[in-house]
Symmetry: C2
Subunit: 556 residues, 2 copies
């Protein structure tokens, strides 16, 4: 079997101007970055404002397992399949982060014959958006420490600086550091930490901004920490929003590429799906909707995190409402949810599926709670047996759920035609029933409870003393009307990653809150959330090389 990078390097890409032209774009609407990548112009959205919106299709999944679900691959494959049906479809994906590429084998550009290309560029520096976010984030850090060092007019409490530095690297040694050591010439010593770039609030800001003006407005309102009197300190207080906007100006423009079958794809932004909302940018999704009849886009992790946040946060900020949802499941992953070990996944086990399918069942209920039509996509793996597939299909039929088997890794768009047909049908249904999980007027505690009960299936929530105090403080600051952004393990519906399948009778422990005022949401932490990954025993980086003829090898 060929590897992703081998398939990618054998694919003939169209020049990006052909892709742009196929979307009806003229030269002023885009700028090339190399011959097969482009950035859309800053004013394209404004120019297309009068056009009707294409239908947004949201791809989500069951809770991820080590078996793999292939959500990005199905997203790309579905877009290609829609094109094969004669629809004008565009794919809208997140930008991969460099850190995990160096760490564990596996990127975020789809796979097999359903990839976005050039995959090497997309997985490495691409058009520099993440580097720009790193620079902006760390410029702000430098300005904060410089302010404290030079008299601290704002009376920032160095113990209460919430803004940390970032690097786009898996680097565990930077999780907890002390900066400013070495005497008066080297600033004021304080504890700090580095997160990975995609965890920067600036990433969330960029992805939720409607335009350059909105970007600056959001940057301004970022709370970087608190004074000795425990008042919030903002970017505006530091007068830094202009410089940050300058650094992010180009990164705000979405990137245009193509898939293995030359279907247009817009790849832009990629916030964490725990401490942030885990979706590509509003500008990218909105632009794609103006350029295509269908936009296929995905949200991070399972439906309990990514889809919930897409539908409660991104949907509100960008006035984007999906017309249909695809829930990706695999036989392998359902077996794991049914208790099978990874080493035994190759053996047929219908009974395990009959238990594990409860995880899928809960996510179906969640999507129903939003009032949206949906299709279950079974993403086929070579080890799946006919009995297993038949069981899952029958389960869907018995539960009156539309289901389609897809084989897009192996067959590209041709492997997703059934799914595409069912998605088109679903997207034609009326969506008058669309509703959010909570109202913005609900108190913060009530919002959290509604998500825990409706989306996770919990009995209730339990607030720590700290979380309780923070809710009072945040509501006093006028932040009570913001949506909440749940940071929970992606591996389970509850806050305990070992509770696979469909746990019941549990409560969600709320440990702590964080104010992401620029992004426009309150982050709610359940348990420990790691915002800086580490490298494994044998990092993927050690397999990489450039061949003598200049090709990248060992990337995947």
């Amino acid at each position: 079997m060929k590897s992703d990078i081998e398939i990618a390097q054998e694919t003939t890409l169209k020049p990006i101007n052909e892709i742009a032209t196929s979307l009806g774009l003229v030269e002023e609407d885009w700028e090339p970055y190399g011959r097969t990548k482009a950035k859309l112009s800053a004013n394209l959205q404004e120019k297309l404002e009068h056009r009707p919106d294409g239908k947004v299709i949201l791809v989500t999944s069951i809770n991820p397992t080590p078996a793999g679900e292939g959500k990005s691959t199905v997203t790309v494959g579905l877009g290609q399949a829609l094109n094969k049906l004669g629809k004008k479809a565009i794919i809208a994906l997140r930008e991969p982060s460099l850190g995990p590429v160096m760490g564990l084998k596996g990127g975020a550009a789809g796979g097999g014959y359903s990839q976005v290309l050039p995959m090497e560029d997309i997985n490495l520096h691409f058009t520099g958006d993440l580097h720009a976010i790193t620079a902006a984030n760390n410029a702000l850090s430098a300005l904060i420490d410089n302010h404290i060092h030079r008299g601290n007019k704002l009376q920032i409490d160095p113990r209460r600086v919430e803004w940390n530095r970032v690097l786009d690297m898996n680097d565990r040694a930077l999780r907890q550091v002390v900066v400013g050591l070495g005497g008066p010439a080297r600033g004021v010593p304080r504890e700090d930490s580095f997160s990975i770039t995609v965890a920067s609030e600036i990433m969330a800001v960029l992805c939720l901004a409607k335009d350059l003006h909105d970007l600056k407005r959001r940057l301004k309102s970022i709370v970087i920490g608190y004074t000795y009197d425990e008042d919030p300190v903002t970017v505006e207080d530091l007068e830094a929003e202009g410089a940050l906007t300058v650094l992010l100006k180009e990164a705000l423009r979405p990137n245009l590429v193509q898939t293995t079958e030359n279907t247009p794809a817009i790849i832009h932004g990629g916030p964490f799906a725990n401490i942030a909302h885990g979706c590509n940018s509003i500008i990218a999704t909105s632009s794609a909707a103006k350029l295509g009849d269908y936009v296929v886009t995905e949200a991070g992790f399972g439906a309990d995190l990514g889809a919930e946040k897409f539908l409660n946060i991104k949907s509100r900020a960008g006035k984007i409402q999906p017309r249909a949802v695809v829930i990706v499941a695999t036989i392998r992953a359902l077996k794991m949810h049914g208790g099978v070990k990874k080493s035994e996944l190759k053996e047929e086990n219908v009974e395990a599926i009959s238990t594990g399918v409860a995880n899928l069942e809960k996510h179906i209920e969640t999507i129903k709670s939003f009032g949206l039509p949906f299709v279950v996509a079974i993403n086929k793996f070579p080890t799946d047996t006919q009995n297993e597939i038949d069981f899952l299909k029958e389960w869907c039929t018995n539960n009156k759920v539309e289901v389609a088997l897809t084989d897009v890794w192996q067959n590209g768009g041709a492997g997703g035609l059934e799914l595409a047909e069912k998605v088109v049908k679903a997207a034609d249904e009326p969506t008058a029933d669309f509703k959010h999980t909570y109202s913005l007027e609900d108190p913060l505690e009530e919002k959290i409870r509604k998500i825990a009960q409706t989306v996770y299936g919990a009995n209730d929530i339990v607030l720590s003393k700290k979380a309780s105090n923070q809710i009072s403080y945040f509501e006093k600051q006028g932040w009570g009307n913001l949506p909440v952004c749940m940071a929970k393990t992606q591996y389970a519906l509850s806050d305990d990653p070992t509770q696979i399948g469909r746990p019941t009778g549990f409560t969600i422990q709320i440990r702590e809150l964080r104010a992401s005022i620029g992004a426009g949401f309150i982050v709610v932490l359940t348990g420990d959330v790691l915002t800086m990954p580490g490298l494994p025993q044998h990092p993927a980086a050690l397999n990489m090389d450039v061949t003598d003829d200049g090709r990248i090898a060992g990337l995947f």
Copy 2:
């Protein structure tokens, strides 16, 4: 008077394909990055190998002062002037670092009507080369700490890790840090520091590499620290050279832009001029030489640092020999070297010039010691008086030195015609006399002594105990045949920045050495060298903004 950014934004740029075509390049030779920037293809050098080399003109200066010398501006102006004379000239410059752009007002893209454009892009993220270097540097750091954390098979002594992290930001709080805090899950605590990206050895490696193959070879041989037994540990020992090459593959390709008068300019690489060699890349200079009849390039700081290193390090590594040197001086700076305070520079003071000119005199002697023809360029400022200019011209005539007054900030190429004519004449002279300051076979101590005596005018050098021990250790490792890279204050010929003008009777104190084996030189530190700048009381960042119509304001 208009600002640099105002002049830049009023200039009509040619599409980059026109610039490329004017150089005889076809589509496969370059890739666009936006409409006015391009990267040259990786195999262009190979393709042009058979062509004769154009003449390389090296622009250097007297010791820098707060009055400003305008070396980059003269470099750009001279290239434009050569084109006005009907010569096919290309400019080869360094890439600016983002940190200082955010810190102090002033970029590194020339000024007035002698700028490289688009100056906003060039001074911000440009084509991402510096970001790629940051990523590669910090990937190596993460791999080192991960290796130590996971059993430390190579027995790296955490107290002797010489490889530090970098950010392209002026951030004093990162000068001295402790990483790996927080218990066993967060690695092994150790002291570390962050330098600014341009101080990374990877920047020097990229700038001295002849091609991708040479890049990987140099990366391999980087010494990242020492074992408990004090043996060197290399990137090859860590098996990381493949990943670093993957990360740097695109950054190795030179960038093509244009000047305010549409003269082609290749901008690529920008290593520190103290702990590194301070010149743009060998690939850029060599490619430019294949594409033009004249290449105008510059080296960092004054002739005692930048030109010395160009002629002893870059010249050897790249087999590049300048045909003529331009020594830039200003009336203002010579007055400062004559003892005038910055606040009194506007007043005529011929006597101060008659003292300060001794600084110029020493640099002239230095260039003569290399056996190269040269021209002194007086870079005109509005406050210069006729008496002052006459004095300096007469001094040159009396000393049989070719001199030309230039006014390229105000008048572009037209302000540099006299200089261009004299440079063309100088470059026609035979250069059989070219010689380096030292032989590679000289012991390290002798190399340092020869530079100190010939280039700085010192009586002798004084080695610290540490430096002495390091020389023995380095020579035992087989590193004794490498060139040396002096890290000395740029403000004076001696190692004391207050000794302006032309100090005599001094010795150079050698504090410490560092092994930059990948770059291929031994760094020699005289006094403290800061590799991470700080932000000033009022950082330039605070003046920056993006206007409602999307233009960058307040950058300069």
